[in-house]
Amino acid sequence: MTLLSLLFWLIAGGTLQVLVPAWRHMGQPAFPFLLGVVLYAAVNKKARYFVVTAILAGVMADSLSLAPLGYSACAFLVAGALAVLLRADFYADKARTVMWFGGLCAATSTGTMALLLRMKGLVSLSGSAIFWRMAGSAVLGAALIPLLFGLMRGLERRLGIWEELG
């Protein structure tokens, strides 16, 4: 049931990702719909669910853009792993904490993606442009991810599949 709910959110996130164009300010970062689902799984679910979600979300994100397959999965796994590492010490189920987590992980994901794309020579962005874009991602992550977390948790509670991760 947990996997089904995550799949539903992945499809919804993927569709929204296609429909909503990148933000026109701060280096044109993407709205982190799919990253939100990955982070939700990283913070609230068991590790295996997080890994499956990150890989599926990555395949979806790369399929919807010109990025080579596997790049977004890598970026999502790095951002999610950061969330898992910090979860035990810093994470609390409060909007402000989720906001910080969202911002930090969105910036990490964008930074990883930029690094991979630059290494492959697919984008030619300067260091300052990448930094600016990471800042833009952090703003979007901080604004959007608490909302996504609220929606996902709300649905899980209604379905009766919400469980507190010990």
Binding site: L19, I55, P68, L69
Partner: protein, 294 residues
């Protein structure tokens, strides 16, 4: 317990590495499946968004009228709404007529497509079209509008195609100036929201005859873009850093930020792949109309 964790980490790493090293054809197949799977849902949602926008516009119109004169009768509001819709239809009609006229004038075969999305990642300047390989669209074809060239197809699935826009730094087009015949290469300037122009023309000889307002057209060299397609106009000129070349800032002729329809140029071979098997003696309606045309 630690061993299991390491094994799991290695397995994840291997999966990601395997994905990154998939062959181009396998990678395209996987991408195509996901994109084609999402495109119907995307279509439905886009339709919904468009309807909502229309309703919102209509309501806003009613609100404005109410502010102007609250005593206006319901019938007048209704009629004004109808008029607004008629004007919208008229605009669409004119746009479609222009498109049809453009298709008739153009020497190549054209595949008419609707723009269904823009790049959502922000890494590239692309738009997505609602037609793909099943309609005869192939990779590396020029994409145009009645106003001019907009880019080329880069990633084609069965039902969708991504177009790399002129404004993307990796989209390079061999061009010449229509007036003086001076050659150069146009490339995009990337993400500069609200800023014009979208492209720059490099490698113009320092003594070449270039003036502001010159029309830039495709040169046809390189074979990717047909010759003579309008790219844009020279907006301003500068000397390159070393002083060896002139650099022209080019304003694209097509409104790259407001695309609704586009046409993919196609060769006869592209379209032959998608021609259906027609029984002998069957005359399609289109052919009958074609014969009746003056």
């Amino acid at each position: 317990m630690k061993d299991r964790r390491w094994i799991a980490l290695c397995a994840i790493g291997l999966i990601v590495l395997a994905m990154m090293n998939l062959s181009d054809s396998a990678s395209l197949r996987v991408k195509g499946v996901v994109r084609d799977g999402i495109s119907p849902l995307q279509g439905v949602l886009r339709g919904g968004v468009r309807e909502l926008r229309e309703i919102f516009r209509y309501i806003r119109g009613i609100g404005d009228l109410a502010l102007e004169n609250r005593a206006l009768s319901e019938e007048i509001v209704y009629l004004r709404g109808e008029m607004r819709m008629a004007r919208e239809l008229d605009r669409d009609n004119q746009m479609l007529r222009d498109s049809l006229e453009f298709v008739r004038r153009f020497p190549n075969r054209l595949i008419s497509c609707e723009v269904v999305g823009r790049d959502s990642t922000g890494w590239w300047q692309t738009v997505r079209l609602d037609k793909g390989a099943s309609s005869g669209v192939t990779e590396g074809r020029a994409v145009i509008t009645p106003d001019g060239l907009i880019g080329r197809t880069v990633s084609v699935s069965d039902r969708t195609a991504d177009v790399l826009l002129l404004s993307d730094p990796s989209c390079k087009v061999s061009v010449r100036l229509d007036r003086s015949g001076v050659f150069g290469v146009v490339s995009g300037l990337g993400n500069k929201p609200g800023e014009q122009p979208a492209c720059r023309m490099d490698y113009i000889l320092r003594d070449a005859d270039v003036v502001e307002g010159d029309e830039v057209v495709t040169s046809g060299m390189g074979g990717l873009f047909p010759k003579g397609l309008i790219v844009g106009r020279v907006q301003r000129l500068e000397m390159s850093e070393g002083g060896l070349y002139q650099v022209a800032w080019v304003e694209s002729a097509a409104p790259l930020g407001e695309l609704e329809y586009a046409f993919v140029t196609a060769t006869e071979e592209d379209l032959a792949i998608t021609e259906p098997n027609i029984p002998e003696g069957f005359i399609p309606d289109d052919d009958i109309q074609e014969e009746e045309r003056p």
